[in-house]
């Protein structure tokens, strides 16, 4: 059982890191800080009118 849990954690970690690095390499991951240049389409929809 322990081996299965460890295996799942390991695969999930590798998947997450590879996916993240791939997205970063393609420039898809947006820096989360508010500095201009980061998060280039940070749309704040709070308070929008209900349609």
């Amino acid at each position: 059982m322990e081996k299965i849990i460890l295996g799942l954690i390991g695969v999930a970690a590798i998947y997450f890191v590879v996916r993240n690095l791939w997205k970063e390499a393609k420039g898809e991951v947006k820096c989360a800080c508010s500095h201009s240049g980061c998060s280039n389409s940070d749309e704040n929809k709070k308070g929008c009118c209900d349609k």
Binding site: I5, L6, F16, E24, A25, A32, S36, D42, C49
Partner: protein
Amino acid sequence: MDNKRITIALAGNPNSGKTTIFNNLTGSRQHVGNYPGVTVEKKEGFRCFKDQELLIVDLPGTYSLTAYSPEEVVARNFVVQDNPDVVVDIIDASNLERNLYLATQLLELEIPMVLALNMADVAESWGIKINDELLAQKLGVSVVRTVGSRNQGMEELLEIAVTKKARSGSCNINYGVDIEGALEKLEPLLAVAHQELKFPKRWLALKLLENDKDIIEHVKKISGGEATVRTAAEARAALQKKLGEDPEMLIADLRYRFIGVLCREIVIAKNTDAVTISDKIDKVLTNRALGLPLFLGMMWLVFNLVFTLGAFPQGWLEKGVELLGSWFGQNLAEGDLKSLIVDGVIGGVGGVIVFLPNILLLFFAIALLEGTGYMARAAFIMDRVMHKVGLHGKSFIPLLLGFGCSVPAIMGARTLENPRDRLVTILVTPLMSCSARLPVYTVLISAFFGEHIAGNVLFSIYLLGIVLAIVMARIFRSVFFTGSTEPFVMELPPYRIPTLRSIVTHMWERSVLYVQKAGTIILAISIIVWFLTNYPSEVQYSKDYEGLVAQSKTAFTVQVDEEIAQPLKITNIEEHLAFQAVVTKISKVEEDFKAKSENLQEGSPELDALKSEKEISLRKIQTVESALYGPASRYTELKGKLDDNKDKLDKEQTGEKLAQSYAGRAGKVIEPIIAPVGFDWKMGVGLFAAFAAKEVLVSTLGTIYSVGAADENSIPLKEALALDPAFNPLVAYSLMVFVLIYSPCLPTIAVIKRETNSWKWAIFSSVYSTMLAWVIAFIVYQGGKLMGFGG
């Protein structure tokens, strides 16, 4: 207009307060700063006002609609091409004349417009009174007074924008007989362009006379456009010949004359020549002789505070992580899962999370730097130095922003008009020490350098980054990008006290980001590193460690039996209560002494005092237990030797297991390359993993040292590093230098690619910096060894 979303564009000069107003209107928390060029990309936010959905667009600052730098192009293109329903021109009321230049150009575009006289409070405090009613009348547009920092005037602004009070104004600038004649000649030729491009004919004609490359390209594409452009070129040449000056300059000059006349009518200024507080501060801070030393002094202070003040909360967090590790260590069943949680997750992520206070302090300092207006002064002070390397002071702003994060810093280089300057700045910005590298420095400095020099060591690393950036800029400028230096034109904004909200927001966001990073990418990498350092589980050892431990135990038993048990006629010494009681007393004194004397230097008065205290305690035991003291003392000595030997063998065994793990084997492959700079395979694995994010070096070392720890008790990484013979202060410094210089992290490489539109420069940036890192670390390490700092 009622049933669709209204698009409101916030335009204006740099540093006129657009983003502050944008944040007020939309509830966003976009970054603000008191220097020109904070916003380099347009930002969008939504707001509901009187049942109407508003799309509010914050544009980068621009001085005119004739765009030069990439971020100005973004602003101009949005206003000119995206046809917003209303443009709000945010005007710095304390700097009216210069700000009205853009307003006149927007008016010529004949788009619905509102003028927001922002920072009206500052203007009034300077004795500048503006007759806004007359201004509105003269320009034919609505004027609203706003104070962005206090959220004043926002409702009025929206009221006008939404209720169609925003209207196209007119400024009726008369450009003189010759230019007006040329405009009249060109306007009829621009009928088709007007239909297709939706710009007023007069504005198009003016742009053609101003030789606006972008508009020329657009007109050329329209049928008959080539001929119109040729006619415009002829008209330009004729004007130049007749008036003796470039028509672009003449048009700008005439606009300023119009503004000058307008300002004389609407502004009642008092004491405009009076020396402001900003002027007084600048006399000192931008002084030719004092400016640079004061800047360096401030930096020194910041990094000392980041280290010394940060050490307290860092210690608390360390304690918390240690307790968490011990709790899991004691409450989880033995096995790989427990090791993964304690060594992998807590050892890795916990090692990074403890530096959150230092990161926060650094961002507090950066927020002050940006908010007060000192950022522009730093650029001004460094202009002389930057000119020597072929750049100008403006390039120093992205470099300073690089102390926070290289990604926005590289994007900040958009404010540079010259593509050559921009590229050089982009290539050297990663040499500035970003906040992600701070945990690496902090852990190494606290492990190997005394408290009294810790701040100086940290400062030296940051300074090295600046010096290297300047040197590399010089090299790039003379090798790849030759050409003359552009003059430096940048406004120095008045000093302001940053709002508490902006500072707290900035710090809060950075802490969320840091914790997020620790809980995602760093966690995942720590798990992978744990697997790589823990497997394969079956290892062929060079020695029979279990046999050796058993052998030393037998030797101990025999020696105890011969030297102690037989002479005392004790059959089972382990269970002889009286004897073991004396042994416990002696051991306690020895352990107390060991614990207290751990950090004391040989020959120090404190150590001497502890030694005499120990002697007194032992003598007391000897007096009470005179018969058993001698044998018990010998027993304690032998037991100590046995334990030391067991520890040594355990460490050797775990070290061997670690070296034969997948990570160890991979590290051994790169070890020959990094050995000349003083690094072993563990540091190599850490440096490789840190390519994803620099903090990962700390989490990787945290995991490796936790897995490699022979005992169950988790100790802070800095203590584990200090105990590792592969490390010494020189190796630690060499490692810090390497981390400072080597390849930027992947997100930075991606942003370099995006900004330069070329993988070539992105890859070049990674390769050159890694090679440079090796060379400089080699000089530091080998030079240090030659000078006897090898340790």
